[in-house]
Structure formats: structure tokens, C-alpha cells
């Protein structure tokens, strides 16, 4: 095997040890919660605490379903709400962002660069900061206590648009777009049949980002009707019952984590590919 340049053996060993220790620390809370979710109740209160259960059980998960079926609003309703919000929000996010990104990346028209630089500037603004005026806007639109309040803002997410625009710029050949236009394809045809199939990694990344934000929507000031509340909110209520439900709480956390993690596992190589064009010019 060819020796790599500029790599001393001791350096490599030290770095590998450092990352092994660090990875163990990073993983510890995750292992703990997965372990706890399979622990029978007597093992949860052991001293010294153990990470891995001695007699694993599914009791916490079955308890979770029992509590769910005893709730006032049927639990399927919460699941339906979250799935609806996540699916509609994600679809809208992909279509709206990609349409705009396509124009900003591949077309020329007055004001294009200015529009893009404003969008880039807003990447810095955390959503908690805009939350209060957003509440006023939602109430003017009469969207308080409707699905729209949770779904529509994701359609205009600047991070998704930014990543999509950068990716299209590098990965959609100009010649391809021009050829399609010359052949008489409409703007929509060019977008839907030529551009979108070229940027699969881009939209997989948008799926991950919007699922990440929508799946976890819990208690919010926009919704007060019980039958419009989300899965994260309902499951959060179970966890907040405290000590008595520590095991069920762990099971809940595992269930909530599993959806985004599974999406990431299956799309991670595409997401890294998208991120390779995420760079920002000074």
C-alpha cells in the first residue's frame, strides 16, 4: 500500500484515539435513551446506573400505546396531524424553493443578484426572533389555530432555497436548459422535466431539512385546539408526567428520533453531495 503523504504514525494513532473517546461521549446519551426504553421499571432505578438493560422488555413501548389509546383526543388524530403537516409542508417547500432556485441559478433578469443576497442575509435570523411579529401576521391572516400557520412558513424557508440554488448552479448544465428552451419547452416543462431530475440530491436535502423542522413541531402559540395538536406535543405530555413514566418517556424519545434518523441514513450520501456546493462567497 502506498504511504500517505504528510501522515506520521503517532499522529494518526493519537487522532484516532481522540475521536474514539469523543464519539463515545457523543453517543452515550443516545445509547442511554435507547437502553432505558427497553429497561423494566426496577432497572431504571439502579445504582450504579447501567446503559444496557439486563432483561430487555418491550413493556415501555406497549405502555406508550396504552397511554395513547386512553387519551381524550384519539391518538391517531395526533399522528394524522403531524403526518399531514410534515407531508404537505415538505412538498410545498420542495416545489416553491426549487422553482425560485431554478430562476436564481439559471436565468438572467433584473434584480436577480439583489434578491439572492437578501435571502442569504436572512439565513442568520433565527426563527425565534421573528416569532412574535409572525404571530401578529398569522392572526391578521386568520390562520391562528389552523394547519396553515404551521405549514405555510416552511414554503418560504431561506436555508432550503439557498442550498438548492447553489446545487443547481453547479449541477444543471446551462446548455441543457438552453437546448430545452430552444426546442420550445415552456418554463414549467424545463423546470419539471429537465432541471428537477438533475438535482435529486438537492431535493433529498430539502426533504430532510423540512421533515426535521416539521416532524418536531410541538407546542406552539399558533395552535390551541386539542384536535389540531401534533404528535410531538402529545408525546411530550406523556414525558412531562415525570419520574413515574421515565421508561415510557425514553420509548417516546426513541420513536420521535427514529423518523429523521432513518431519512438521514438513507439519504446521507446525497445530502453530503448537496453540501459540497453549500459554500458561501465572501
Amino acid at each position: 500500500m502506498k504511504k500517505k503523504i504528510n501522515r506520521s504514525r503517532t499522529g494518526t494513532i493519537v487522532l484516532f484515539l481522540a475521536i474514539a473517546v469523543f464519539a463515545a461521549v457523543m453517543a452515550l446519551p443516545l445509547i442511554l435513551v435507547v437502553g432505558n426504553s427497553f429497561k423494566p421499571i426496577n432497572e431504571l432505578w439502579e445504582f450504579p446506573p447501567r446503559l444496557v438493560p439486563r432483561e430487555p422488555t418491550l413493556k415501555n413501548y406497549s405502555d406508550m400505546f396504552t397511554i395513547m389509546s386512553g387519551s381524550l383526543v384519539p391518538f391517531t388524530r395526533y399522528i394524522f396531524n403531524t403526518v399531514l403537516i410534515t407531508v404537505v409542508g415538505t412538498l410545498g417547500n420542495i416545489i416553491f424553493s426549487s422553482m425560485c432556485a431554478f430562476q436564481l441559478a439559471k436565468m438572467k433578469f433584473p434584480g436577480r443578484d439583489r434578491i439572492f443576497s437578501i435571502i442569504v442575509l436572512t439565513l442568520m435570523f433565527n426563527t425565534t426572533v421573528t416569532a412574535i411579529p409572525n404571530y401578529l401576521i398569522m392572526s391578521k391572516l386568520h390562520w391562528i389555530d389552523t394547519y396553515w400557520a404551521l405549514i405555510v412558513p416552511t414554503f418560504g424557508s431561506s436555508l432550503g432555497l439557498y442550498l438548492m440554488k447553489q446545487f443547481m448552479e453547479q449541477n444543471v448544465p446551462d446548455a441543457l436548459v438552453e437546448a430545452a428552451r430552444i426546442d420550445g419547452a415552456s418554463m414549467w416543462q424545463t423546470f419539471w422535466q429537465i432541471v428537477m431530475p438533475c438535482v435529486k440530491p438537492g431535493w433529498l436535502t430539502l426533504i430532510l431539512l423540512s421533515v426535521q423542522s416539521l416532524w418536531n413541531v410541538g407546542s406552539t402559540t399558533f395552535i390551541f385546539s386539542d384536535n389540531l395538536k401534533t404528535l410531538a406535543y402529545a408525546l411530550g405530555q406523556i414525558t412531562s408526567a415525570g419520574v413515574a413514566r421515565a421508561g415510557v418517556g425514553a420509548a417516546v424519545t426513541v420513536v420521535m428520533m427514529s423518523v429523521p434518523v432513518i431519512i438521514f441514513i438513507f439519504s446521507q450520501s446525497n445530502i453530503i453531495e448537496t453540501m459540497s456546493t453549500s459554500g458561501m462567497k465572501e
Binding site: P29, L30, I95, C100, V129, I132, I137, I272
Partner: protein
């Protein structure tokens, strides 16, 4: 002379208008995104800035009161100053440290085979990916002997009494910093991984011939300069994160935290906006946050220009 200028100005506007009309399809295509973006991102920023000069309780129309909200913030609200200092402390520590850790880990990960790299990427990214997972830390920090951290320290005989990590003011700040760092391997981290993978391999060989002697010099002179755009993107992401800390703290340490030890600007904002409905005052807090974020961004741009020199 003047007449002519006016004319050319007019005709310029006319050609621009023609240009815009000619490209109406382009604008139409962007409209859905831009309308939503304007309504829920730009408009709130403008509203915040405007309302920050007013008294507004939602029920009555906003009343212009000049700079009075800002006077109160800086001269007459000890809790705001506490929140500001906590936010700055948390951001100054967790922002740069989280950023460096993400960069360093991305760099070391690159030395592994793709399978190991993917596995470790998933472990590092999961805390940031799954919004609510930080609640796990309340099990670790639990104040009795069954808490994981107390359990470990007590069975090693390092401490004899359980420590109240979540309510003892001496430990709360460090405890919070650790959780925040745990969640700091986010979008920026993925961008670093991609950036490092994207460096042209022949540059390393050329560098070795030019006298780059070890991996650290390679990192500083070759890797980092060729991924400056990713470094900038990561910086923006970490500023956004570092100044938005609030829910994580309420989730573990409760709201308000003991002695307001972990009270941040986000908490102050939520308190005035959602609980007291003093929208003018809350807007002034939001405006202060905007200004800090924009200024920091400028400073970081200057700093990053120095990488590799």
C-alpha cells in the same frame, strides 16, 4: 442639460420596466416562494424594527413612544442585562468551540474509510437532527444518585454526595454548555465534511513537494483555504444557532431557570411577547438580536479572509 438628464433617467426607468415585463415569466416563477418568504421572514423583521419604537399590547393600536423601549432595556431592566450577558457568554463559548469541534471532527473523519465515516457522521449529526433529544440530558444530570453522571462519579468515589447539576448555580452554566456543544454538529458540520472531501487531491501532492511537512501545515495551507466558502457557511449557521439558544435550556433546566442563571434573550423575548403581550418591548429585544447577528457576521467575514495566511 438638466432636461436631458431627466430624459435619460426617464428612459432608463422605461427600459428597466420593459426588461422587467419581458422577464415576467421569471418573476412569476419565483413569486410563490418570494411571497411566503417576504410575509414570514422579511415583513417580521421590518415589523420588529418599527414596533420597537412603540407601545403595543395587541388590543389597542400601537402608540409611538420613540426610544423609550431601548432606554428601559439598557437602563432600567436588570433582567435584560442578565439575559444579554448570559446570551453573550453562551454564544461566545459555544459558537466558536462548536464550530472548531465540527471542523476538527470533519477533518479527522475524512481519514477513515467511507463506512466508518458514515457511521460516525450519523452519531455526531443525530443530536442536531432530532430537535427534542436534548431532554435525555435531564436523565444524565438528574440530581439524585440514579442520575447517570452522579452515578458514575459516585461509584468512582470522586464525589460522595449527588450534585444538583440542574439547580446548583455553580454547575448550571457548564452543564448547559456541554449540552449545547452536543447539539452543535449540524448543517455546518455536514458542509465541512463535504468541503474537505471536495479538496483537489493533487493539491496535497503539490503541497508536499513545496515543503508542507505535516498534516497540520497541510490543514492550514491547503485544506482550509480551499474550503473557505464552506467555512463561511458554517459560520453563519453557528451564529444563527448560538444566539437562538432558549428552548434547549427551558427543556432541561426549566423556565425560569434557578436564579435566572441561564436566562437568555430568547427567554426575555418570549416572556414579553407571549406572556406579557408587550409587543413593542419584545420587538426592541428582537431588534437588538438582529443587530448583534449582522455585526458578528461582518466581523467573521473579516476573520475568515485571514485563513491560510
Amino acid at each position: 442639460m438638466k432636461q436631458k438628464e431627466k430624459l435619460s433617467g426617464k428612459s432608463k426607468a422605461k427600459t428597466l420596466l420593459k426588461d422587467i415585463v419581458r422577464h415576467r415569466n421569471n418573476y412569476l416563477f419565483m413569486a410563490p416562494f418570494l411571497i411566503v418568504f417576504f410575509t414570514f421572514t422579511i415583513l417580521p423583521v421590518i415589523m420588529s424594527m418599527g414596533l420597537s419604537f412603540s407601545y403595543f399590547n395587541v388590543l389597542e393600536a400601537p402608540k409611538f413612544i420613540g426610544l423609550r423601549n431601548y432606554y428601559k432595556l439598557f437602563l432600567n431592566d436588570p433582567l435584560f442585562l442578565k439575559a444579554l450577558s448570559n446570551t453573550v457568554i453562551l454564544a461566545v463559548i459555544t459558537g466558536p468551540v462548536g464550530y472548531m469541534l465540527s471542523l476538527f471532527m470533519a477533518w479527522v473523519l475524512n481519514e477513515f474509510s467511507p463506512k466508518v465515516r458514515t457511521f460516525l457522521t450519523i452519531i455526531f449529526y443525530t443530536p442536531a437532527l432530532c430537535g427534542g433529544t436534548f431532554v435525555i440530558w435531564s436523565l444524565i444530570y438528574s440530581g439524585d444518585q440514579y442520575g447517570l453522571l452522579n452515578g458514575i462519579l459516585m461509584s468512582l468515589n470522586l464525589i460522595y454526595e449527588p450534585i444538583q447539576w440542574m439547580t446548583d448555580t455553580a454547575y448550571m452554566m457548564p452543564a448547559a454548555i456541554i449540552v449545547i456543544l452536543w447539539t452543535s454538529f449540524g448543517t455546518g458540520f455536514l458542509s465541512f465534511i463535504a468541503g474537505i472531501q471536495g479538496v483537489d487531491k493533487t493539491m496535497y501532492e503539490a503541497g508536499a513537494l513545496d515543503g508542507v511537512k505535516n498534516r497540520w501545515q497541510e490543514l492550514w495551507y491547503i485544506t482550509l483555504p480551499s474550503m473557505k466558502p464552506q467555512l463561511m457557511f458554517g459560520a453563519v449557521m453557528s451564529i444563527t444557532g448560538a444566539f437562538g439558544i432558549g428552548d434547549l435550556i427551558s427543556g432541561i433546566f426549566g423556565f425560569p431557570s434557578v436564579g435566572y442563571e441561564l436566562y437568555t434573550l430568547v427567554h426575555e423575548l418570549q416572556d414579553y411577547g407571549n406572556t406579557r403581550f408587550d409587543m413593542g418591548y419584545a420587538s426592541a429585544i428582537a431588534t437588538v438580536l438582529f443587530v448583534i447577528m449582522v455585526l458578528l457576521n461582518k466581523i467573521i467575514q473579516k476573520l475568515l479572509a485571514k485563513v491560510g495566511q
